[in-house]
């Protein structure tokens, strides 16, 4: 989050939809957004790990954000996308989301960071804060938490 402060106070987020809610992902972690494609199942892994895909010759693991955040799994639609995220400690990972909506730019003033206490609630575990954009509320994802391993 320290990085957030330093990047000129204005950060671009990609707004995604999962289960009717809007979430924002900091654009600097996003490598690519691809359409749903065939996923090869990998046996004996956590249920939210859907398997691996071929992204231009690289094998990339794919996880379902629904599975991870405790939403019910749904059938894929034409809007379903895989967001390819690159993080230092996890490498490249694909995240399946219901829909990708838009890119928004939020300034530091529009973002309300969660305090430590608020993060203790399970629902907020994966969030770093809430952003306000044109009267809409966007929950900003803490990617490290989303991607870090959860026990089976």
């Amino acid at each position: 989050m320290d990085e957030l402060m330093t990047t000129n106070d204005r950060v671009q987020y990609i707004v995604i939809k999962v289960g009717g809610e809007q979430y924002g992902i900091d654009i600097k972690y996003i490598d690519n957004i691809v359409r749903m494609q065939h996923i090869t199942r990998v046996p004996k892994v956590q249920s939210y790990l859907k398997g691996v895909i071929n992204l231009r010759g690289e094998v990339i693991p794919v996880m379902s954000i629904r599975g991870k955040m405790g939403y019910e799994e749904v059938e894929n639609t034409k809007d379903t996308r895989i967001i390819i995220i690159k993080l230092e400690q996890h490498g490249t990972v694909g995240v399946i989301v219901d829909e990708v909506k838009e890119v928004v730019t939020l300034s530091e003033d529009d973002v309300e960071h969660f305090t430590y206490d608020a993060k203790q609630e399970e629902k907020n575990m994966y969030l770093q804060g809430v952003g306000k954009y044109n009267e809409q509320l966007i929950s900003l994802l803490e990617l490290n938490a989303v991607l870090s391993e959860k026990d089976l």
């Binding site: 046996p43 004996k44 790990l49 691996v52 690289e58 094998v59």
Partner: protein, 699 residues
Amino acid sequence: MDVSQYLEIFLDESKEHLQNLNTQILELEKDSENMDTINEIFRAAHSLKGMAGTMGYKRMQNLTHDMENVFSEVRNNNIKVNSEIIDVVFQCLDALDEYISNIQSTADEGENENTAIIERLNAILNGKSGKGEAPKEEATAAEEAPKAETTEAAAKAPSVNLKLAEEQVHVLSEAMKQGKKIYFFDVKVQDSCILKAARAFLVFKAVEELGEIAVSDPSAQDIEDERFDTNFTLVIISDADLDKIQTAITSVSEIEKADGKLLSEADLTGGAAEATEAEAPAEEAPKETKSAATTAPAPAKAAAPAKDEKKAGKPVVNRTVRVDIEKLDVLMNLVSELIIAKNSLVSAAGQDHSQTSSFNEQIEYLESVTTNLHESVMKVRMVPIESVVNKFPRMIRDLSKKLDKKMELYMSGEETELDRTVVDEIGDPLMHLLRNSADHGLESAEVRKQRGKPEVGSIFLDAYQDGNNVVIEVRDDGNGIDVEAVKNKAIERGTITAEQAATMSDKEIIDLLFLPSFSTAKQITDVSGRGVGLDVVKSKIESLSGEVEVKSKLGEGSTWTIRLPLTLAIIQALMVCIGDEKYAISLGSIQTIEDVKASEIKYVQAKEVINLRGVVIPLIRLSEVLDAPTNKTKDDDMVVVIVKKGDKLAGLVVDELIGQQEIVIKSLGKYINKCKVISGATILGDGEVALIVDANACF
């Protein structure tokens, strides 16, 4: 002088010299009279000193200097080599090694003066009467002598020995017609010069300010790569006069001399003719060295004994290029891409039935080209394991002293090649195994005598290629593994229960040794026995997709066998179907493929087995292991892929076979690493990802 750019070369070469010193001193310990060895040591120490000095590492230089002094005395027969000297010198080498690793990590040699070692070295020097100074001078004089000779030889005349191609002659005579002067220069770099290429470069630069270099022998490229002895010749087109060019060349430091001559037209044409005939005798020696060095080392040494003083440590000067391993990785990845693209083409051709036969031919051609390309790229990445195992004789010698046991290491197959990444990683596990053999394996001399074994224990390190694998064996003729002791220990530790122990085979019990924190050493020693060892060895080797096995006979010794795949990136695999999913099984682990009727399944301890030509083989249903839905019922006939791991067999039940294919192994990434049975993934011709089943993990 900014030397940082030469740091890498310095490190590489010093390591080479150190290794050479280690080997030679071990040699010397066995045969303390061998003059060749002593000379060799002296030379290596001398080069090391020079290099350290050039790079400004004073402490390292001092230490090497004192070591060199000792050997100079030894060489002059003023000191006899004894075990004390050898011990001190080994300490000295360890200290140097420390300097080098300091330099490698921080570019600084560190603060350790190693005064104790220097004092001991000096004590050795002074130990034998006051002759200290005189012979040393003698030594330097002796060293000067051959140098002087060569100088003399070269000084006879800058005999114009031109190798000119016709077009070069043409260019030169054109220049001459334009009133320019043509000079021939024979430039000699000092024997002690470390960075010959850099000096030569400076000479080129100096000359180019005054004129143009028309011809150089060896070629500019070779000179840049330091592929020349100490001499090189230049043909220069210039307006300046001879003296001026000569001064320009000799003003470059470490240039011993430059003999110049103004060429006439006759020289040019004559030179061209001469090139086809025999070479001028004065030039012959160095030339021969150069050409011979690439073929055989022996004649090279004979031809120019003075010249190869510096190079004597290296047996053959191969024409090599140092390449960053990352560049090779990129190349390998590109080859992988190419193979994937080829696979796509093959599968596209398979779908399209209207294809012509020439299309197929082309695809087959492409297939053979990519396979060859892959093989050669793979070979480029291969290095002999020599670089790793070289340090072991020294280690065994030290262990022998430390443990007070007599032992000898016999090595074979050092030239066996493995992928660079594997070679880098294999050192530690091998060291563990060797230490293990030395400490736990070999008995003390008294016990050996009682058992009627030779007093000196033997440890063998053998490497060889076996099909698509490289096998490295560490064998000793020591005590072997005491199965009962292991069993008792395991029960004592609660690893297994007494009932379990009763039903376990000896082999299974020995395998317990590979469990974390399991050591049977009665005493914890410095060498091994802390219980971190074999499990680390095992996990390391498994991370390299290899396996380790042990065979042992109580009282006769044990054999540890490490089996490693030749390459990690591209393999031949059998593609199989389970339900709708496709999986790859490495061809290397497959023994046979069998059709088995459901009625042939027998049960042993409630596990499914089949009896295949007299061998009982356990069945593993991949659909269960992989949680994959299968289209078959238990009553259907089965396709069974028989896989082997060491001498164990198992039958993997699959739904259908697809066929053999060359596959590129891709990692699943660090994000997914839970599944042991899956060793990686590959991309099929149609772009789909298939997982690779690790047959070894199924056992």
